[in-house]
């Protein structure tokens, strides 16, 4: 059996005293790729922000384990150093820090070939620009992916990697994500609304986050098909 990387046990998360995630369980072993679906505001982003350890997302019950050890007491950077990575949906603009500097400061690989990887993601000309300043949606996502690849995490949390990205670039990003995950048998939790990214990133597991809980774990394309046909409400009821 492959190594267990991430375990979420009966997780409850609050933002400013309001519960947004209530009793979620999930686990990711090496090579697992789980797709997380759900309506806007259903708590998908909150779940991955809590996994990453952002202080505004307070874990009130349950546990998060990385390779069998609780990481609840660890700060964001300590979780990142253990091997958790995140691709943000809307990363903040950081003036004065160039994309190149950011990657040089945070690259986890000694032999990371920045020029080559930036070239593959069509980001070469953005390396000298302030982080996310004036980037389009697609540029932002490619910048995020480049940073994640440089960081070299074992478990990657993708928050809508294809939102704001044109079809051509979804193909580019999807292909690179799939290849990146394949190498080193990484695990991934992927939030998607459209499922377009799944044309390129093979995923076997999907689930729906609704009523602050996870529902239904099965082939993601099947779930997406049902949601398209019946909508989220009916889909959740059916799967209950």
């Amino acid at each position: 059996m492959k190594e267990m990387l991430l375990e979420i046990k009966d997780l409850h998360v609050q933002i400013a005293g309001r519960e947004v995630v209530s009793g979620i369980n999930l686990s990711l072993r090496q090579g697992d790729r789980m797709v997380l679906l759900g309506q806007n505001g259903s708590g998908k982003t909150s779940l991955i922000m809590a996994i990453m350890g952002f202080p505004s997302y307070e874990v009130t019950e349950g546990d998060i384990l990385f390779k069998g050890k609780s990481i609840l007491g660890l700060a964001i950077d300590q979780r990142a150093k253990l091997g958790l990575g995140i691709l943000f949906q809307r990363p903040p603009t950081v003036r004065g820090i160039k994309l190149r500097q950011m990657i040089e400061m945070t690259s986890g690989k000694k032999n990371f070939d920045l020029e080559k990887e930036a070239g593959r993601l069509a980001m070469t000309e953005f390396l000298g620009r302030d982080l996310n300043l004036g980037f389009s949606g697609g540029e932002m996502k490619r910048s995020e992916l480049l940073q994640v690849i440089a960081q070299d995490p074992q478990v990657v949390l993708f928050d809508e990697p294809e939102s704001g990205v044109d079809l051509e670039n979804i193909a580019l990003m999807g292909t690179i994500i799939d290849e990146f995950l394949k190498k080193k048998d990484r695990a991934a939790l992927i939030i998607t609304h459209t499922g377009y990214i799944l044309d390129y990133v093979k995923a076997d597991l999907g689930c729906v986050l609704a009523d602050k809980r996870l529902h239904c774990v099965q082939e993601p394309r099947k779930i997406i098909g049902d949601i398209r046909k019946y909508g989220y409400d009916k889909c959740v009821k059916c799967r209950k």
Partner: protein, 411 residues
């Protein structure tokens, strides 16, 4: 010769009338409080005679006594000119005193970009003249390396007043690094620096000033620039070290069509430091452009960041940007951006922001594996980014080191 005497007398008369005139901005300084005399010790006889400590202080302000990568040097310690020489053809470097004696025509420039009776400090500089530098690039001359000038305050309780005149003749390209430094002394000190720039048609001046004063020094620079047709004036100002009180508001007049002025300032106010620093550009000719960019970081110090753009004709284009970052509970930044359009067709804008380091930015960097402290330091370093200044690599590295030490202190 009688003519020059008349000019001097008139300047003296106006200066005497303004001797008690308070400046428009900044704390009023009692000049009578500085009773010091120049050191009785002998001053160095030249660049090579500088002590290792003085050379290091000069270097921290961007002035390299080895002159490597420089096309000439002017060094004044208190009231004494230690060195004034150009190593490049077509560039002149000498004390303003010598230049006024050599060139009668220089009186046509003297006190023409700054008013002698602007305030008590300009008046003091006229009535107590102690050199300063004269730098001139002859027509069409383009030096490969920057010139450097160092104004060094060595003696206790002294007012160092200098008057600099910089002339970039038609089609020339002149780059100057001026470093101001102070020896560690127990009392206080004051520096009054008059600087007048004349950027002729198709000429270009890049002026970088680095202030490395100390917490007991008061500084009152008074600077004016006139830019002619197609002329370019780029001014960089960097103040990262503690200082008691600086007030300066350099002003450029874009007098020739299609001329350009750009001011970049990086200000760091340490605990107890007061920086009242601004830049003003008067766009008086068609097609002229101006940009004022300021980064102000207060670590329990006080900064007033001013900016004033005046569009007198059209078309002109001008932008002002001021960003302030407050670290520490007692930090204070007051940004005052001002725009004045005097006719239809001016294109002027400004943006100003004052705040603390955004939590979401720190957390973003942390999610890539940087500690909270590393993230904050990187953001501060990025905030004080000098890459836009186009400085020589050696100087850039020196300033980067100074920024790095500020970061540590701020954290």
């Amino acid at each position: 010769m009688r003519e020059v005497q008349k000019i001097k007398e008139e300047l003296d008369r106006r200066a005497r009338a303004a001797a008690g005139k308070k400046a428009a901005f900044g704390e009023d300084i009692d000049l009578a409080g500085f009773t010091g005399k120049p050191s009785s010790e002998a001053y160095p006889s030249g660049l090579s005679a500088l002590s290792a400590e003085h050379a290091k202080l000069a270097l921290s302000a961007g002035v390299d006594v080895s002159e490597k990568g420089r096309s000439g040097t002017f060094l004044q310690m208190d009231h004494n000119v230690i060195h004034a020489r150009s190593n490049a053809e077509g560039l002149e470097v000498m004390s303003t005193t010598d230049a006024l004696a050599k060139y009668d025509w220089l009186w046509d420039y003297y006190w023409k970009a700054v008013a002698v009776d602007a305030d008590k400090y300009t008046a003091h500089a006229q009535l107590n003249p102690f050199h300063g530098y004269f730098i001139r690039a002859l027509p069409g001359q383009k030096a490969s390396f920057p010139l450097q000038a160092c104004l060094f305050l060595k003696s206790n309780d002294l007012i160092q007043s200098v008057h600099n005149v910089i002339v970039a003749e038609e089609g020339s390209d002149l780059s100057i690094i001026t470093g101001c430094a102070t020896e560690s002394f127990g009392g206080s000190g004051m520096h009054i620096g008059i600087s007048e720039f004349f950027v002729k048609k198709n000429a270009r001046v890049t002026f970088t000033m680095i202030h490395n004063w100390r917490e007991n020094v008061v500084v009152r620079p008074r600077t004016g620039t006139v830019v002619e047709e197609n002329g370019v004036f780029l001014s960089n100002y960097i103040c990262l070290q503690p200082v008691r009180n600086i007030q300066m508001y350099p002003r450029a007049t874009l007098a020739g069509k299609n001329s350009l002025a750009r001011y970049n300032s990086i200000l760091y106010a340490h605990p107890g430091s007061q920086l009242d620093v601004g830049s003003r550009v008067d766009l008086a000719a068609r097609g002229s452009r101006a940009e004022i960019i300021a980064r102000a970081l207060s670590h329990d110090g006080r900064i007033i960041a001013r900016g004033y753009l005046r569009g007198e004709t059209a078309p002109i284009k001008a932008h002002l940007e001021c960003r302030g970052l407050i670290l520490g509970e007692r930090g204070n930044i007051y940004a005052i951006p001002e725009l004045e359009g005097c006719t239809e067709g001016v294109d002027m804008s400004h943006e100003a922001a004052v705040g603390k380091i955004a939590k979401e930015e720190i957390e973003y960097l942390m999610s890539r594996g940087m500690s909270s402290q590393e993230a904050q330091a990187a953001i501060v370093r990025g905030f004080l980014d000098i890459s836009i200044m186009g400085l020589p690599e050696v100087l850039k590295r020196q300033i980067d080191r100074a920024i790095a030490s500020c970061e540590k202190e701020a954290m």
